[in-house]
């Protein structure tokens, strides 16, 4: 199995969720994150001083998938998250040894 992690623009989350569902993957875990990269942040003014806020809000998604689905899912995910503007984010995949569904104790692909 693989763990696919995607760091995307927040307002693409809906599209990604829908694309994954269409693809047949029904579960995912989401965390709020901030990203730092080529996309610049913005400037804020406080009491006569200016500051750059260089971290940009991002959404971090984790999906566990079977090995066989991994490549296709990467494509689906990248397509759904894409806007073409700088800051669209990264997607990466890591091999996973064990996955357990807590409720049933199932392991491996059955746990997904």
């Amino acid at each position: 199995m693989k763990l696919i992690t995607a760091v995307i623009k927040p307002y693409r989350l809906d599209a990604v969720k829908e694309a994954l569902q269409a693809f047949g993957v029904d579960g995912l875990t989401v965390t709020e994150a901030s990203g730092y990269g080529r996309q610049r942040g913005h400037t804020e003014v406080y009491r006569g001083a200016e500051y750059t806020v260089d971290l940009v809000p991002k959404i971090r998604i984790e999906v566990l998938v079977e090995d066989a689905d991994a490549d296709q899912l990467l494509d689906v995910l990248v397509k759904a998250a894409w806007t073409g503007k700088i800051g669209d984010g990264k997607v990466w995949s890591v091999p996973v040894e064990t996955v357990i569904r807590v409720r049933t104790g199932e392991r491996g692909p059955d746990a997904l």
Binding site: G41, H42, E44, E50, Y51, V53, P57, G87
Partner: protein, 442 residues
């Protein structure tokens, strides 16, 4: 002080003026809590700025246009009091100093444009909004206040003084006026990105509740203070205000429970505001049971009215039309039914044997103010949109208007906040602006 002066009345009106002033921040919180976290500050400042702009214009010419001796058949006041000229410290208006009267009326002029802002939440350029406020109070509010609130023994405003339209504290001049202007502006500016698709949930319902609590509190000044004296009429207006507000909260919640199966806090807050709006014109002419009826009716109808925008497809973001235009109209028209003739006025409504006469007058008042406000506001909005532009770009709207128009974010709750951004070492001493952002966040 001169004869006829009353310290008790003066105390009452001055404190009432302070209460009405507090309504504008209250409104800011009521609206500010309802928007998403990325446009809170914009919403707050849209109200606060009215306290700045309208106050200055009031002193320059607003008071004179609204309450100067009538200059033209009840349409507008003359310019005798430009720059508050000719107003002495001890001059009286009735039993109170003119300064106190003028302070009280100023607060009405401040909150009315602020009310409009809810209709165009999240998407108006701040400078354009400021310009709109200045033009709108000049061309719309000051004249309409003259029509409705200026009494001079039949030589005053044409709606109130000359034609007997009853509006005790501003159902037409304030609420229908602002509501219709809100409708016009949200048509001019168009829908928010994601309207009908994204939930756009209130970012802080406690802030909404705070706003509604402050509005309720301040509204006693608005309504009871409109008696311009601490007397039985003020007492009656006070009780009627409380009764209609409580009843409207129940009316709204009942509607919601039946339609959606849950009592919401936003419904409680909105119902209270709907009741306050509806009783505003009527609190000086109905009995306490009449106020109860007006409240229940207004609560339920306004609760139903706010879904009109989805059906008709205009994005009145925070329901200025559904609450203020509709609520103001309900209250104004119901005077035609519930006026007892024994409270502040002698005119009687349909239910008290007065025939349909007063109802006709009320309908005229509602219609005149609604049409005038809608048309002029639409023209003003278009003019601004076509010249300096009224609406922000889609990029800005998605990134958040606070960030771009105000260079701020509303909250920073991160315990790690200090590190999530970096100050430029060159910041304040030199005042040199940092390189501006290359791209807006999205």
């Amino acid at each position: 002080m001169p004869d006829g002066f009353s310290a008790g009345d003066t105390a009452f009106v001055l404190i009432s003026a302070a209460l009405v002033m507090l309504m504008t921040p209250g409104l800011a919180f009521f609206y500010g809590g309802m928007v998403r976290v990325k446009s809170v500050l914009n919403m707050l400042v849209m109200s606060f700025i009215a306290l700045g702009i309208v106050t200055v214009l009031w002193v320059l010419y607003g008071y004179s246009l609204s309450f100067g001796t009538d200059a033209f058949h009840g349409l507008i006041g003359n310019l005798d009091h430009v720059g508050m000229r000719g107003i002495g410290m001890n001059d009286l208006a009735g039993s109170i100093p003119v300064t106190a009267f003028s302070a009280f009326q100023l607060m009405f002029a401040v909150i009315t444009p602020a009310l409009i802002s809810g209709a165009i939440a999240d998407r108006a350029k701040f400078a354009a909004w400021g310009l709109f406020v200045a033009l709108w109070v000049t061309i719309v509010y000051f004249p309409v206040a003259h029509w409705v609130f200026f009494f001079d023994n039949g030589h005053g405003g044409w709606l109130g003084d000359r034609n007997g339209v009853i509006d005790f504290a501003g159902g037409t001049a304030v609420h229908i006026n602002a509501g219709m202007a809100g409708l016009a502006l949200c048509l001019v500016l168009g829908k928010r990105v994601g309207f009908k698709k994204d939930p756009m949930r209130p970012h802080s319902l406690p802030l909404v509740m705070l706003g509604s609590g402050l509005l309720w509190f301040g509204w006693f000044g608005f309504n009871a203070g409109s008696a311009l004296a601490a007397n039985g009429l003020a007492g009656m207006a006070f009780m009627n205000t409380q009764i209609a507000t409580g009843a409207a909260m129940l009316g709204w919640l009942a509607f919601e429970r039946i339609k959606h199966g849950a009592f919401t806090s936003l419904g409680a807050a909105s119902g209270a505001v709907a009741g306050l709006v509806a009783i505003t014109p009527a609190c000086g002419s109905v009995s306490m049971l009449g106020a109860l009826a007006i409240g229940l009716i207004a609560g339920a109808i306004c609760a139903a009215a706010i879904s009109l925008k989805y059906r008709l497809g205009f994005d009145d973001s925070l329901d200025v039309v559904g609450v203020h235009a509709v609520g103001g109209a309900i209250g104004s028209l119901l005077i035609g039914f519930f006026a007892t003739g024994h409270v502040g006025q002698t005119a009687r409504g349909l239910f008290y044997g007065g025939g349909a006469g007063q109802l006709g007058k009320q309908a005229m008042g509602v219609a005149v103010v609604a049409v005038y406000s809608f048309v002029i506001s639409w023209l003003l909005g278009q003019a601004i949109q076509k010249t300096i532009g009224f609406r922000v770009s889609e990029d800005v709207e998605v990134a958040g208007i606070d960030q771009v128009e105000h260079a701020e974010s509303a909250y920073d709750f991160s315990t790690v906040g200090a590190s999530l951004s970096r100050a430029l070492s060159s910041h304040a001493p030199t005042g040199s602006p940092v390189a501006t952002k290359t791209e807006v966040d999205a």
